[in-house]
Symmetry: C2
Subunit: 892 residues, 2 copies
């Protein structure tokens, strides 16, 4: 028989904190605290399994649940010595939801449950305070009606306000017991009016109504949205906590408060918290009364004139401070606690690991380790890698009141301001004039790289989290808001509109790439600072992790940045980005327009010195670290001119007529370029392109080595291979070129030739391909596109619906689809290693910087992950966490 | 030690016909004939393994080959009693290539090898015929120089012609021994002149030169092209046959000829062949002298006045006829034999299974079975399924001398003539006026379906064998030449040009979809006729095969045709084709342009009756056979209007303004529509579309069943599924709709809900998907595109290079990539059956009509294959062959 209900209280508990999945976070921690002997009001937790049962069985409960609840309730009555529904001395309870992860989207708390027209009198008598009793009752009616009966707060506030107005008073505190009694009647009438039924008087009906509301709230739109945004699976379910009430509003010897064992903003080891005398929890949250600091230090720090709890209730403060120590030592982490003081008796209502800023997370982890409370390994596991982004990019000053113009996708973190321009060329021109620009486009393409590089930020109206703009911006560490459909760009008038606002070229806007917000004008920012704690944690992480971390970079700027962030080589240098420079694109186009191989070779010869210099610079910056260079990948039509002006320029430079240029463009047009004439297919059909690139790589490597730099071991990578034969043909040409260069220069050096695994067929054929390929780099962007048959540029629209409907829990382009794409990676690694046990394996798709995907890479046995420079620290930390198997709360 | 050389002759042989892979077809059959005791000139075969060795080792021979050849040669000398290179009585040999499969692209034969300035005199003396000796020598110089030394025939023909001119004679036969002697000197001088070296006089040098030339010819362009066109892998290699010479030109008691054991055109059981008195084999082929019939019957049939061999050499004829019987009984198949009579002695030079027309293949197979020589099973294995196409489509009259204007891809078999039109609308208009049209387009799209249906044939200038035009044309059984790049279409001037020829709208052209040829004017055709033999063979095939054969069809016409061809249900009804009718497309567009779900439902309600009628008609035609209906698959933008006129029409019908229509088009535009918002993704985002289609299916099924037709079991198929969740959401909606219809109509019927497996992820997840999916249909077109990351519409260009370079042996869109895509199918079948042992599995991609792919489907354990109606007979035969494991010569 399944145990559906777990009790706690009186220094005992059936549950414990390790049972979070079953009892939810709140329930598990209440049990843990009770077990520790802390003063916890007795109660019980209905498990998350009941929630799962409820939704699996047409919203019905297990048949034996009712008995279990009754038994648990009887236990509480016994501890407290009061009876639920008793006319004289009624037991009151609170009902709260509690999922495995904290979920603000869920049901509000219901307090004071158990009050009705009879028991309210009992409460009045037993507490000796009729005003308190009726105030409690009206609060209960209000909460219960709102949450369970769907009668909104405003109905009641309206009544209350009218009464206050009619009496000419302002504060609730001025109302008397009789006033509240009258209000209760009015509230009850309102409920009957709104629902057609009287407010429930049976306390057991009240309880089951509340329990049902908790389970119901698991599937409300807010909760679903929150889960989607926070990657929480729907099948986790929520628990329900039923706990005897304690009252912080029973007079000046009562109080309620929240406290953190350390400062959640800075991480400083100082007791931090707020409390209110003679108040219930909701009063603290409501913000009507100004909460007071608990400690004198805190009070002084905030220059508060209100007395601290340490001053007003010194004994209770010491008791709380002792509990603070006990809990932090017990949980070995900073705690967020809720407490209530009822008539000079301290009660603990909740403890949980406290939310904190990235800065605080770092400091707390380092401090706890230094204090000997946790190991360095544990410290490394305590910081959420994704949070590090906060420390690496500027953020908007939260004190500034911003006006949001539109919202798009948070495509690349950081905030930025600049003058709006609508083309990459203009961006470059304006920046040359010393201006700071914001590049606004419907979408971007590889030819916009230059403009994207100089822009402070990028805003697009189309494309998803892995659109060109998003990927490139993340790679550059440039702030980007993508897919901002609320904005309509008009290139002709050089303006964009958002609602009724029109923004013209030159106007200043601010974007926040971490939230997707777009603001008019300049919003003040806070610049990032890398603390010693950051460096320390990275150092610890590096000693723990087993996977290397490389960067995806091709410009010296990016490569330098990546080294600064601690990368251990380049995992992906995308050579095509090197061809868009104005000096080069002309030769590239000449190559594409050439009539024959000889013509192509002539044009390629002009590109050779550029490529050689590019590679020499990268090799120099990486100083002996491995550099993986991917040979040309995109289809040739991406390099062709589009506008008449560009075509005219090409005509002038190449001597080919405009008609031919246009015809070649039409000829190269593809219906599905992602699946078209690209990658190794270019190498097979135009071997001279890859030959030139190989020549540039080897000549650069030789030159840098000769100059006395550390020996360079280039890794030449062939993209989009799907058969061994393709790879072998290209490898033969590369090997031949290497020998040619070595002979000509009298120098020999080591190099590797390997392949991207980015097509399902390549993954399946990995065993065969590894016969000749020396490394595999999983191109998970393309592998996701082909395995799922889903274009990353076209899927933003329906992926949204997919996530809403729970088909995908995460965007498969942001976090690896471990079931589908993951199986192919596992197959490829297994087959590849069987053929070549020392085959180097890495990942260089967007997933290389995603913590969950990095965990997968560790399990799959990859040698390294490669990600955009700004994600290198995140990857270093995530790799360390992966090595020690920490997955936080995400484990299913 | 590897045995590199196999000898034969004197009633013995080291090889046999089963050793074709090692000895090549010719060598294996020579050995077999020798082993049977037939009169075969002695000789030996150098194996195909030597060829493989040769190319694997930088074009060198195994070290022990020379000895093996010398030993074998000594054996031949011993049998014949003559010595190779002997001055008095020299042994002469022929050297011929011989691959596993017959390969006309390979090296020509070299005859009379062993002659030089000395041995020619010996031959003159021993034969007593100096003219014969010198004629033989000059023939040898000419062949050898051409094949081995690369001195073209024309060099020699020129010399010969000059001499004849100077002597005022016309025929070679008028030349004397001295003339030939003189010519030999001139030939030798020419060789020295052209190559810088004298003609080789060492007979062993001659032999090794010839052997090298055979192996070299394996990699010449003609051979490569032939292999590519005939799907022969390069690693098979060729053997070399060295055989002692016999001469059919030693006087009137000598002759040479070829014979078929049955008529290769009709299949009739009559001895059929031709011979020439006093001639060498090449004279028969050269066509200078008119060959004579071997039999009197044959002579009379062809109304020849030349005497038959049966009359001239009755005893030898009887001997040959006995051999004919013996060989046919031995090989149990029609043989193509070559023979030579040297001074009244019959020698057999070759036997092999004779090539034959499809009609003959059928008749011979049936007759051989009826004669008891082979079983019915064997008879079924004897007909090449691909050849059946000849019997199902009109063919060009071979007697007509056609002029080919351009060549494209043979995209859909059959020949057709018609007046050129350049748009689908015009095609329909002209046909309404009673004209016969040929639709010429750069490419076609789904909206051209109507025009394609009424056209006699379709010609496109872009796209490959699996482009839209090709797939649809094959489906309709319409002749189609696709990707004809030699033609440039100009829509504005309504004309196309091919070279210097311009063809205008209304001009008549003829296309041959079996060869890819395009001809100006009308070329006479031969109409197909389905013989009793055809029906008989199909009947036998049906009793043997274990896989069902279904058809891909959606129109009543196609469905009816498919039934006529013996399909056992519909495996793929593409519902989108049903929406392009002018009456429907307007509602479809209204649906796409609708602002909200209500608007879409209104438009869909207009489409419902059409769909219902479509399905009812299909169900009626299929009379109880299963019908698999795929719900809407293509992206919505395919249905939107493109031209201004079309947009105007939509504006008029829908009340939406043109700007909105264009904006919706822009909004729906996709970079990679193949990987975009289509298939089940439409069902997920617009559930109302699939609901309408499900409603139409169930209402139609109920209506047809109620009318007393055989009970209909519709199979509702959801396309492009990649997760179980997608499938489940759609299945729930379909099941709900089924219940709704059953309730409304008071009728219940069986139905299945299944999915396409056309994405790698779906294949991997098949075990999970099979929990709810009742059938799988492998959509191998899309599965190939995604597994290989290759768009079928964009790959024609580089696939050509891929096949030239040997990366792909076959077009993966025409014949299944068994290694890559195949493994995914195997995985899916295995996992699917593990979950649901009785899951129905089928294939409905283009590969369903390809014999090699059908063989794979059998091995993978599929329940059925589905193909275009015109390929149903091919599939029935191929499935039967697959069931008995006949793979012909294609086995690697």
């Amino acid at each position: 028989m399944t145990k559906w209900v777990y009790t706690f209280g009186d220094g005992k508990a059936e549950g414990k904190s390790a049972m979070k999945n079953l009892l939810g976070g709140k329930g598990a921690n209440l049990a843990e605290m009770a077990g520790l002997g802390l003063p916890v009001p007795p109660g019980f937790t209905i498990t998350t399994e009941v929630c799962t049962y409820y939704y699996d069985h047409g919203q019905t409960y297990p048949s034996d649940l009712k008995d279990a609840v009754n038994t648990a309730l009887a236990g509480v009555e016994k501890i407290i010595g009061m009876k639920f529904g008793d006319a004289k001395s009624p037991l009151l309870v609170s009902v709260r939801s509690g999922a495995r992860a904290s979920m603000p989207g869920m049901m509000d708390t219901i307090l004071n449950l158990g009050l009705n027209d009879v028991t309210v009198e009992g409460l009045a008598a037993s507490s000796g305070d009729a005003r308190f009793a009726y105030d409690s009752y009206r609060r209960f009616i209000q909460m219960y009606s709102n949450v369970v009966l769907d009668v909104g707060h405003h109905n009641f506030e309206h009544i209350l306000q009218e009464l206050k107005d009619s009496r000419g008073i302002k504060l609730d505190t001025e109302l008397t017991a009789d006033d509240w009694k009258k209000i209760v009647k009015l509230f009850e009438a309102k409920v009957k009016d709104a629902t057609g039924k009287p407010f429930p008087q049976d306390v057991h009906d009240q309880l089951w109504g509340a329990i049902g509301a908790v389970f119901g709230s698991w599937m409300n739109q807010r909760a679903i949205t929150y889960r989607r945004l926070n990657d929480i699976p729907a099948n986790w379910g929520t628990a329900v906590n039923v706990q005897s009430m304690v009252f912080g509003n029973m007079g000046d010897d009562s109080a309620t408060g929240v406290a953190f064992t350390r400062d959640p903003s800075t991480g400083e080891n100082a007791f931090y918290g707020e409390y209110l005398v003679n108040a219930q929890g909701e009063d603290v949250v409501a913000g009507i009364r100004t909460p007071q600091n608990i400690s004198i230090v805190g009070k002084n720090k905030q220059k508060s004139t209100l007395p601290a709890m340490e001053e007003v209730m010194p004994a209770l403060y010491r008791e709380l401070n002792d509990i603070r120590d006990k809990l932090e030592r017990h949980y070995t982490d900073m705690q967020d606690m809720e407490f209530t003081i009822q008539k000079n008796k301290l009660w603990m209502l909740q403890t949980r690991n406290g939310k904190r800023t990235a800065k605080a997370a770092l400091k707390i982890a380092i401090d706890l380790a230094n204090e000997g409370l946790i190991s360095k390994k544990e410290a490394v596991g305590r910081v959420d890698p994704a949070q590090l982004d906060q420390l690496l990019h500027p953020t908007l000053d939260p004190k500034f009141k911003k006006t949001v113009l539109a919202r798009g996708l948070p495509a690349s973190p950081g905030a930025a301001s600049g003058q709006v321009v609508f083309s990459a060329d203009e961006a470059e021109a304006w920046v040359r004039e010393g201006k700071k620009v914001m590049l606004v486009r419907v979408e971007t393409s590889p030819e916009d790289i230059g403009g994207m590089h100089v822009a402070a930020g990028i805003l697009t109206t189309r494309g998803g989290m892995t659109s060109h703009a998003a990927v490139v911006a993340r790679g550059m560490g440039r702030a980007c808001v993508a897919g901002c459909g609320e904005i309509t760009v008009n290139y002709k008038t050089k303006s964009f509109s958002a609602g009724s606002t029109t923004v013209k070229e030159g106007d200043v806007i601010t974007i926040d790439g971490s939230t997707g917000e777009v603001m008019l004008g300049e919003v003040p920012m806070i610049q990032p600072e890398l603390t010693d704690d950051f460096a320390r944690l990275m150092e610890w992480a590096d000693t723990i992790r087993t996977m290397k971390v490389r960067a995806n970079a091709e410009t010296p700027l990016d490569a330098g940045m990546a080294r600064k962030f601690g990368c251990e080589g380049i995992g992906l240098c995308r050579t095509e980005h090197m061809f868009f420079d104005p000096k080069r694109i002309i030769s590239m186009r000449e190559m594409i327009l050439a009539k024959d191989e000889a013509g192509r070779r002539t044009a390629l010869a002009k590109l050779l010195p550029f490529q050689r210099d590019d590679f020499a610079e990268l090799f120099t910056i990486m100083a002996g670290l491995p550099v993986t260079i991917r040979l040309l990948d995109p289809p040739l039509h991406e390099f062709l001119p589009h506008t008449d002006a560009e075509i005219a320029e090409v005509v002038k430079a190449s001597g080919v007529d405009a008609e031919t240029v246009r015809a070649r463009g039409a000829q190269l047009h593809e219906y599905n370029p992602m699946l078209g004439h690209r990658g190794v297919r270019l190498g097979i059909t135009y071997p001279e392109i890859y030959e030139m690139q190989a020549q540039a790589i080897f000549e650069a490597a030789v030159a840098v080595t000769k100059k006395g730099g550390k020996p360079v071991v280039p890794e030449v990578m062939i993209p989009l291979v799907c058969t061994k034969a393709e790879f072998d043909l290209m490898k033969a040409a590369i090997d031949k070129m290497a020998q040619q260069v070595f002979k000509a220069t009298g120098t020999t050096l080591e190099y590797l030739v390997g392949t991207m695994i980015e097509l399902p067929r390549a993954a399946l054929q990995a065993g065969v391909i590894a016969e000749t390929a020396e490394f595999f780099s999983f191109g998970t962007n393309d592998l996701t596109q082909t395995t799922l048959g889903m274009s990353r540029d076209d899927s933003a629209g329906f992926l949204e619906v997919y996530r809403e409907k729970g088909i995908f829990e995460k965007d498969p382009f942001a976090s690896l689809d471990q079931t589908g794409v993951g199986e192919l990676i596992e197959i490829a690694v297994e087959r590849g290693k069987k053929t070549r046990p020392d085959v180097k394996t890495g990942i260089c798709g967007e997933h290389g910087g995603d913590p969950a995907s990095i965990m997968f890479c560790q399990k799959a046995g990859l040698s390294y992950v490669s990600c955009s420079p700004y994600r290198v620290p995140i990857a270093r930390l995530a790799a360390a966490q992966a090595a020690i198997g920490v997955e936080g709360d995400r484990t299913k």
